[in-house]
């Protein structure tokens, strides 16, 4: 860890102004930032602590949705009756992430910007374009078992690690932010950037832009939503593959569907191709398998992570079966 300045921001304006300076960054729960400071991956000049700001709380919105303050703790969101009742995929995703201790510290706003677990990103002794632009990528031809198969580029194949974000992209969440120039909203599906040639750019937020709330709109598919996660042990491990799905079933057919993937993509991955396959058809395992195949059609694999394509498909199928309350048919 290198020396840095620390500011506990008293209000939004001061937080945004301070964080607009080069080398400044926000910190909330610290579960990513402090970790990366300690291994010399993050080297900020200034940390702007936002935990004193007024952006907590979880409440119903007049339009039938829920507003979650950016500073709400992951554990509080997962426990909240409104979330459990209306958005079970989000509660399940949060509870499948990290450990209870970490969930008690991590905030929703921070988790939106969680950094990758790529081991080369986290090792200053290895090249990484995300850590040092233009340095090269050790993962593309290296140990890539945990890496992405969707949304990759020649410059970066790092997986977005968040479970929460996968549920949020499935649930059509809307991110509310403040800038010095005013407030704006960003669709959750537009928040994260694909790595392309510039993997160091991970999201569309401007320097000093402050996430204030996450809004979950009322929806007909959220109640029948769930999150399925496959990992290397029972708890406290990042996803090898995960799926958040939501279904609106009317009259024996799927009126609309939401499918999102985690553990296999460079950003929280909305699988609209899969949703298109599902829409308007009666639920059935064979249909789910076709939808899963559509979701992974664009996968690009390495030897170490080739298994993720089939695993992600099966994870989607499992999640859809669970969302419909159906049992799997074993081959």
């Amino acid at each position: 860890m290198r020396p840095f300045s620390y500011l506990r921001a008293a209000d939004d304006d001061r937080a945004m102004r301070a964080a607009s300076e080069p080398g400044a960054m926000f910190v909330a729960g610290g579960t990513t930032v402090v970790d990366l400071l300690r291994i010399d991956v993050l080297r900020p000049a200034l940390l702007v602590d936002v935990t004193g700001l007024q952006h907590g709380g979880i409440e119903a919105t007049p339009s039938g949705g829920v507003r979650i303050g950016a500073l709400a703790r992951n554990s509080d969101v997962a426990d909240h009756p409104l979330i459990r009742e209306r958005y079970p995929a989000l509660a399940e995703a949060l509870e499948s992430g990290a450990s209870p201790q970490l969930r008690n510290m991590a905030t929703v706003g921070g988790n939106l910007l969680q950094r990758t677990r790529c081991p080369y990103f986290r090792d200053v002794g290895a090249p990484c374009n995300k850590r040092v632009p233009g340095m090269g990528c050790a993962a593309v031809d290296g140990y890539a078992r945990s890496h992405a198969v969707l949304g990759t580029s020649d410059a970066c194949i790092a997986t977005h690690p968040s479970d929460m974000c996968v549920a949020l992209v499935a649930l059509d969440a809307i991110i509310h932010t403040r800038r010095v120039t005013g407030e704006r909203t960003i669709a959750m599906t537009d928040l994260h950037a694909l790595p392309g040639a510039r993997p160091e750019v991970e999201h569309v937020l401007e320097r000093g832009e402050l996430i204030t709330d996450v809004e979950l709109p009322a929806s007909a598919f959220a109640k029948a939503s769930c999150y399925e996660k496959v990992r290397d042990r029972a708890e406290f491990a990042f996803a090898l593959a995960s799926a958040a799905v939501g279904l609106e079933l009317t009259g024996g057919t799927i009126a609309q569907a939401r499918v999102a993937l985690g553990g296999v993509a460079t950003k929280p991955w909305r699988a609209r191709e899969a949703e298109a396959v599902l829409a308007g058809k009666p639920p059935a395992q064979a249909l789910f398998e076709r939808a899963a195949a559509a979701a992974l059609a664009g996968a690009v694999t390495r030897p170490d992570n080739a298994f993720k394509v089939e695993l992600a498909k099966r994870t989607i199928v499992r999640a859809l079966l669970r969302a419909t309350g159906a049992k799997a048919v074993h081959p």
């Binding site: 860890m1 050790a138 496959v230 708890e235």
Partner: protein
């Protein structure tokens, strides 16, 4: 009255749960500076360090590199199996990634850490060999001899036995690099008094080993070096050797002219303090049509470093565990550009019994026999390697008690025959064994005013050593537990060997028993202030007997084969380890070993980049050990076993045997559940998913 055999609570439990137990890094030392090791980015070549920016950083006192480090003796290893060749800044050569290339000493830990980040190096990298499977052609016969026997063994005619066999299994099994990862990181505080006296607080299994290495390295009189460690927060073999950081702390303290504290980071613990080497093991088994073994061949290749040898003795158990006239075993090494491996909980037996007991399971299916029945048909009534009788062996009872506990008799023979909801269910079993070794040790006791103080240098690793030595002393002296104080972990106390190899109860316990027995005789004659020192070195009672602990491990697993998920749902271990000194601490030891088996079978692996030989696994988020949710109900069964030969206590030690065999029991259960045989640990999702 007898305290031995009772489940006494830990005498140091209160100290630990209240935070009052002082571990090495906790020791208050005045005017202490802080040292941070800078590691090499490359695995092979040379490193020219640039420390100019670090020298100028706030609070920095010294940056020690190969350019300015004092020259010290760098004797090749050879004073015992745990004496290592060290990299202590004597030249610019790099043998493995993360090897120390500089040590930054500063007034605070934060200053040392931030300055360490400013140290850079110009590397002349050479191609590095990272992985064993690609280098098997370079296997050679090691010069180092494992502690438990020669590298090769042969009896009978294996080829003839295999030729005559009705059923054969020939398969290759691999076990990965594993890292011990004790909770307490390795830590050293070095304090010089003048130039010729050194006191070190070090997290170690062997204070006298550290003392000897430091004395030799710095050319000090042995009695001018004192090493202290009252409590160790887990070790598992990784603290049995004196590693580079211990010497570097002393080196830095000498250069800085102040006491220096050096604590390894978790990432450094993956490289600087040893690991279980990867093994590639080939088993050839042959049996007649009744499942009686005709031949066994077990060939082991494991990795070692470029500068030192460590042999993972995986085939030792194959020499003695089953009755068979034709047995061949061998151990070979391949040099890679990696750190030197070391003893890791159940060194050899944990990796080897995975291979052996998996192969026997395969043989049972080949013979269409119940796996337990196969083992009973090949029960060894003597040690076939030494041709000696056992000092004791209640393995048949272990098999039976374990089988009863897990419900083995209701198990369907065929794989894939049992479902629970959507999950496949399997039951597997395996034999466990570990040698019951012991070494000479010294111990001292003083009894006065109805209270006794027992002293010796062995280490409390978290296993309960303080407690069981208190029990042994109390019985020998005829005192209550609370009248006995045990002091450990200090070279000012009588010398004991390394606390390792499941030897401490027998080794330290016998010495304490001897000293206390002599003291008791004098007390009984009416003396009131008695001091006795004893050395336990009379092992005549063992002569002519083969001494091993035995056990039987049984596992139930549930497998979701669509998603490749395996969960251990029940684990039973039944053990015959001679006299159980303390069922409470013993149960905890065995349970810990069984939890290790879950991690080893399903989760643990330290991965290196195949191009650079640098660890890609550098923290506990990537190195998966079993968490609570992975651990089911564990049933530990103690089988009564009276052993009049093994040692005066009749006790065999049980620190390692829990992880032995249980790995194969879990893997065999996965086969039984799914019909898929995974011979490459760990059995992760990608290997277990139903193929498309």
């Amino acid at each position: 009255m007898s305290e031995v055999g009772k489940p006494a609570p830990r005498v140091d439990g209160r100290l630990k749960v209240t935070g009052a137990a002082v571990y090495a890094a906790d020791t208050p030392v005045a005017h202490c500076a802080y040292a941070v090791i800078v590691g090499s980015h490359i695995a092979r070549g040379t490193a020219t360090v640039d420390d100019r920016n670090a020298q100028r950083a706030p609070g920095v006192m010294e940056v020690v590199t190969s350019a300015n480090a004092p020259r010290v003796a760098t004797a090749k290893s050879g004073k015992g199996p745990s004496d290592r060749v060290l990299q202590i800044l004597q030249d610019d050569r790099v043998y493995y990634a993360d090897q120390p290339i500089a040590v930054v000493v500063a007034d605070t830990l934060e200053h040392a850490q931030s300055a360490a980040a400013l140290v850079t190096a110009r590397y002349a990298a050479e191609p590095a060999l990272a992985q064993l499977p690609q280098a098997l052609g370079a296997a050679y016969v090691p010069a180092a001899k494992p502690p438990t026997g020669p590298v090769d063994s042969t009896r009978g005619d294996v080829d003839a036995g295999l030729h005559a066999a009705a059923h054969r299994v020939s398969e290759t099994y691999t076990t990965p690099v594993q890292t011990h990862n004790p909770m307490e990181p390795h830590a050293t505080i070095a304090v010089w008094t003048g130039d010729d006296r050194l006191t070190v607080y070090d997290s170690t299994q062997y204070v006298y080993g550290v003392k000897g290495k430091l004395a030799a390295t710095f050319g000090l009189a042995p009695d001018h070096v004192r090493v202290i460690d009252r409590f160790v927060g887990g070790a598992f073999g990784s603290k049995g050797s004196t590693w580079s950081h211990v010497v570097l702390a002393a080196l830095a303290a000498r250069v800085a002219g102040r006491p220096v504290k050096l604590v390894l980071t978790r990432a450094q613990m993956f490289a600087l303090v040893g690991h279980r080497p990867m093994t590639v093991q080939t088993l050839d088994l042959g049996a007649d049509r009744n499942g009686v073994l005709m031949a066994m061949r077990h060939r082991v290749v494991s990795e070692t470093s470029q500068m030192d040898e460590f042999v993972e003795p995986s085939a030792m158990a194959t020499r003695m565990l089953y009755r068979c006239d034709n047995v061949e075993t061998s151990h070979r090494l391949v040099r890679l550009d990696v750190p030197t491996p070391t003893f890791t909980r159940a060194p050899g037996e944990a990796s080897g019994e995975f291979a052996l007991e998996s192969a026997l399971d395969e043989l049972a299916y080949a013979c269409d026999l119940d796996p337990l029945e196969l083992r009973l048909r090949n029960y060894a009534e003597r040690d076939g390697d030494t041709n000696e009788p056992w000092s004791s062996k209640e393995l048949r009872t272990c098999y039976q008690r374990g089988a009863d506990a897990i419900g083995w008799s209701t198990r369907a023979r065929a794989p894939r025959a049992t479902r629970r909801g959507d999950l496949l269910v399997g039951l597997g079993m395996a034999t466990a064994t570990y040698p019951a070794r012991m070494m000479p040790s010294n111990a001292k006791v003083r009894v006065t005013g109805g209270r006794a103080t027992v002293q010796l240098s062995t280490a409390e690793l978290g296993t309960g050593t303080y407690t069981i030595l208190t029990q042994i002393a109390a019985d020998a002296l005829g005192l209550a537990l609370d009248a006995v104080t045990v002091e450990l972990g200090d070279t000012a106390l009588p010398e004991a060997p390394v606390a390792a190899g499941s030897m401490t109860t027998a080794t330290a316990g016998s010495a304490v028993h001897a000293a206390c027995t002599r003291a008791r005789a004098r007390l009984d004659r009416g003396e009131t202030d008695v001091t006795e020192q004893a050395r336990s070195e009379d092992f005549a009672g063992r002569k002519g007997y083969s001494c091993h602990a035995h056990g039987a491990a049984y596992a139930e697993v549930e497998v979701d084969e669509e998603l490749g998920r395996a969960r251990v749902t029940k684990l039973v271990g039944a053990y015959a380890c001679g006299k159980i000194i303390n069922p409470r601490t013993s149960r905890s030891q065995l349970m810990g070993g069984l939890v290790w088996a879950i991690g080893m079978t399903l989760e643990e692996t330290t991965v290196r980049d195949r191009r650079t030989a640098r660890n890609a696994t550098r923290d506990l988020a990537d190195y998966h050990v079993a968490v609570c949710a992975d651990v089911p109900d564990i049933d530990v069964i103690f089988v009564d076993e009276v052993d009049p030969h093994v040692n005066v206590l009749g006790s065999k030690g049980l620190g390692e045997i829990g992880v032995c065999g249980a790995t194969a029991a879990i893997a065999n259960a996965i086969y039984h559940a799914t019909g898929r045989r995974v011979r490459d640990l760990p059995i992760t999702v990608d290997k277990l998913m139903r193929p498309t």
